[in-house]
Symmetry: D2
């Protein structure tokens, strides 16, 4: 039963892409948690804390498709514990001797925070890829329209001329800054959590930190200097970056939305075959995608705010702050995935009406001011292009 | 596939009750939309706009279980239109002659806003019922502990004595104000939307407002004076009230959370049989429910903020604002349902340790200040009780 | 030294009106606090708690212009206490015998919450007056343009025709709902706080509640049933209503902002003599006022969110929540005052270009669809007018 | 007249430090704007756009103390233009020939955005300095209490032992991440704006970008690749970082607030001589500073949210978004300054009661579990210390 419209059969596509949904889908999430437990068992076995045979048995058994998730749900509700239901369903799949080595010296938040780091890795990779694709298209448009004159507008009013390429270059440059931020933050975000109940790795023996290092290595994540159970700046920073990215995409969308007004008519978002704008008004062509980018940005900002609030956590674990992240972090990731995908389609198929641009320029600036002077706009375009191309040439297509 | 943890098999119970989930569940929502279309057809038939036979055929066909929602989803994605997929699936179920009378002279937002009003009616009823049940229990506790002395605390520090009943009466009085607000707002919220594409009821003939009145009567909702497609104070007000209610419940939860610290030990939330606090620390008894009330309040505030933003809508319809409501309004309802349910269990089974209250009072206020004087606290309790009882005696158990 | 641009000599006018600023101005605030202390002393004297001569001496001395506020500031910082600096400056102005009767059996929050209720009374009165003035003008415009055809617009795109009066009537109806809310909430907001340190009126003797009743009567405010030191739904509700009102005004402003685009040209905000739109582009006429309404609404929403967070308060006083209100509640009042004043000017001088409305309608809807049919729009205007006029006829020009 | 309590004579110290207030004080701000105009004139003179003598005359005249700010305010209100009042007051101080070269080919936002970058440089420097001072003290405490055993607490309940040094190291590590973020973002934030009305540097001649480069060099700021009038990720990122920093400081404050409860008694905030906790309850010692950190964090988060909303800007200038920054960015800076200053005092004078830590550990964990085992906590402390010390040794005491 799906009570969230964002998970519905009819409308889920508006609030997440299949690709990001796959990261947070329940069975993927549970599999992710199991993978974390497997990595932990391997690290513990390598350090001699548990028998190697137990680690192998755990790796063998920890497959989400061997579990009945509804039954896990029942046990979760019965115990009122976040992972005990899962463990109780999983243990019977293990040989007797390995059962006590499942979920050994660890705690819920070790599993969920580490899994979140894995999810952030995938989502961050998607964001990196899509932002770069958007940037590539924007650079192309910007170069192509470096000298395409149009009205600049301030306070909603046509003013002196700009070029369309210059407008687009401002978007591209903003996207590039987000790419920089993604790169800068990755080391902070892609970090395991391992500490057990209080975060101290108590009872984990003298090799405790060695286990943690192996655990991180198993997963290809970083080791923290210290447990961060109630130190929540990492998700707050990542979530806010995604919300800013959604803001940038909504800025692009908003520009199309406004310039697609027939009274202006300079831009139009692409209209895939088969799409119906309005049943009652057939002639209308609504900028639905552009508009939706704003909706997504509002929701992303709202969820990001929840993450920022969680920075103020109490003691060694604060369920109030942390459980709010369970909802808010995937939410902002899903919304961002949708916004990126929408924007890619938007900029790829963007219709640009140069004639209207010229006509509007004539109308609003008057005959006397022509030929219109875009000032240093084309030169600024060149700078944006040069910088972005150089950065792109040096960086990986993968993140991090 | 459920990508929201709030819709997951394992954790959905934390973020919504079955009862509220049933309101927003996809099939219930679609049935609700169909019910709205049926009411519209009936109203139109009664006014002679469409044949009665068409209205009857629509009423006959408009059953969610006759539709393949996944197929509706496919058609929704293909058309890029919010309801056209649904209509296209439904039309073949109608006799040829009735097909054009389905979704006649109406628009998406007529259907969704009216359905939302129906959902608000159900959710508001649940909130009313649960708040009154919580109030009843709080009044009971308040009367019972009218004179139970304990430390008052300001800035986290024990100060002069209060009574436990007085503390509880402050909660009860706040709950009563929320009940007042629920009552005052109902006429505003339980209002249909009917106007067609622009909201003007164009082409609906001279009986247009008569149809709207019949439509409202069919559904037991109010008629607006004017279409409110881009006038969104109603959802903003309702959502904020729910968020405030969640805040009040989180205040109660927070008090239990803090006073359950073993160092204080004056209160404890009930612990259902079978519940496991901590796997690693067996002796611990975590105030998970109380804590969760704070999480729910954070998320509800966040979604409520989205609704407030929607008040600033543009022109005659603004998809940016309105689509954000699609997510945010159900969300705040679901979270509130969960918070109410949790609080009912919390206050019903609340453990009160009078001995610790007395002991703490002695420790912190010292021997010399005893007997402790609670001032006019008991008299204030009496006032709260008197007012609430009188109000309860006069009001309906149902809302609105 | 003014570090807030909102308090600056150059720009304060953008972020508050003189009238609302006068409510929150430091000397007015301190005088308000002193008035509260005088009312308390009178109530205590009437109940025999302190000598009448002391109450008279306090009333005589409690004049803000007899205090050196900078010196009060020094003493406030030295003691680290919110009101002790004030008391220490005031006591020397009293005869020896009356000194102990100043600030007798009370606490900071009694004074500040009660003063806030007084401020809310004044601000609410201004809001009531201005909203009614705006409504009056909107009704006038609505009646006048009941049949003035123009393009309706959805998703930013011109659609079927509406009338300008109908658009305005939707604003008017929304304003009317805010007036309803203002009326409904007044009893909750205009309530004194009196309870001393913990809120229990300890040591206030058997006449404690009698003193509180007299105190409330002195100030013309309501008596609460129970102290509300950490029960903060009242400010949260009031603040959110103001934020919604700002949202409504921003909706009106946004409409002017968009329809003032020269490409559309249907509306224009008035331009007072002497105002310069742009130094660099002399021909431009920026919708600065309309635009600013959106800025004000953003800031008001933001401050209102702080108030909602304060509902989750701890124990018998929670400085974290309450001190945040010190900043956020005046802020939202100041911003709302500014938004109301701006909107009054906007709607009073609004320029309406019927020719452009007609021309745009022709352009976008085409010759074939004319004569344009506004459906039941004019009839809806009539309903709005009838309801509002009836309500206005029955209600007071004053609030509450 | 100060209508904001945050600017009041009595309470301004709670909402900003003298040092940060000095940055945003009206006369400092105006001087900053004048400095920007001087730098612009110099750059324009160097490129031959205006005579050198004009640049010199402007530098000579552009002194805030030669202006009557109240008169500037009057002219600002009369013109309804943000800087025209200032220019009109300043021009008479210039020789006739230089007057047209003041504010030459520039626009309001060039001046204010560039000044904001200057302000951010000062504020960022203060934040850097204070965070490093806090870090230094935390490292000291952490080393000193590396092995001081105490109860860890999760969900508000005492659990297994930790060490106090480990708790503090978690704070220190979070502070270090903020220092990293400050370093990483500086190049983005410390960037001039120069583009004239639309941002294109129209009419600035072939040397337009050369002028911009000189302008940036004059001020020691970076040159952007392209104007960023409506590209507002920079302030959004900086503001959010400050809000996160406030969150971290509120986390530290919250810990003291809770552990200072006499029932726990493990920590206490310092109490400066002369400070009075409560007039009515003399024995009380309220954690006022710790508590206030939470208030500051709430307000900072709220203002930061406004900045994030501004990312969605329209066209080439969007006053709605930008004017909101005028209020919100200084606000978050002022609040952060206050939070840093409070935290410095808090951690410098923090009282640590090791006996209570031991006693609580005994009480809650029981005799049988002793000697208590802090696991790898001390080793994690070592890692935090090692990393932070190495970073400190390599970095400048100044920012950026």
């Amino acid at each position: 039963m799906s009570a969230r419209i964002s998970d519905s059969a009819m409308y889920a596509h508006l609030w997440g892409t299949p690709e990001v949904r796959e990261v947070f889908d329940e069975s993927a999430r549970v599999q992710g948690w199991l993978d974390v437990l497997v990595a932990l068992a391997r690290a513990q076995a390598a350090s001699g804390l548990i028998p190697l045979s137990s680690a192998e048995a755990i790796a063998e058994a920890a497959k989400v498709d061997r579990l009945d998730l509804d039954q896990v749900g029942v046990a979760t509700r019965e115990t009122g514990h976040s992972t005990l239901g899962l463990i109780r369903e999983l243990q019977p799949l293990l040989p007797e001797s390995a059962r006590e080595h499942l979920y050994f010296k660890t705690t819920v938040q070790d599993v969920t925070d580490t899994w979140t780091a894995l999810a952030v890795r995938t989502v961050g990779g998607i964001v990196w890829r899509d932002l770069r694709a958007i940037e590539a298209r924007l650079l192309e448009l910007s170069a192509q329209h470096r000298d395409t004159l149009m009205c600049g507008r301030t306070h909603g009013q046509p003013g002196a001329p700009i070029t369309f390429g210059w407008k687009v270059a401002s978007w591209a440059d903003e996207v590039r800054r987000h790419l920089d931020r993604l790169r800068e933050g990755s080391d902070r975000w892609l970090t395991v959590q391992l500490g057990g109940g209080l975060g101290t790795l108590v009872d984990a023996g003298p090799s405790a930190l060695e286990v943690r290092a192996r655990f991180a290595a198993e997963l290809g994540l970083n080791e923290p200097r210290i447990s961060w159970l109630s130190s929540r700046d990492r998700p707050a920073e990542f979530g806010h970056l995604l919300a800013m990215i959604c803001g940038t995409l909504a800025r692009i969308g908003g520009e199309v939305y406004e310039l697609q007004r027939p009274e202006i008519g300079e831009l139009a978002e692409p209209r895939p075959a088969g799409v119906v704008g309005s049943i009652t008004m057939h002639h209308k062509r609504n900028p639905e995608g552009s508009e939706h980018l704003d909706t997504l940005a509002r929701l992303a900002r709202s969820s990001s705010g929840v993450l920022s609030e969680s920075v103020v956590s109490q003691h060694e674990r604060d369920g109030r702050a942390w459980k709010a992240e369970w909802v808010a972090l995937p939410e902002v990731c899903l919304l961002t995935g949708s916004a990126l995908s929408l924007t890619r389609r938007l900029v790829d198929g963007l219709e640009i009406d140069e004639d209207r641009m010229t006509a509007n320029l004539r109308t609003h600036l008057g005959q006397t001011q022509n030929p219109a002077d875009p000032g240093a706009a084309p030169l600024m375009v060149d700078r944006v292009l040069r910088h972005a191309r150089a950065a792109r040439a040096q960086e990986s297509e993968q993140w991090p």
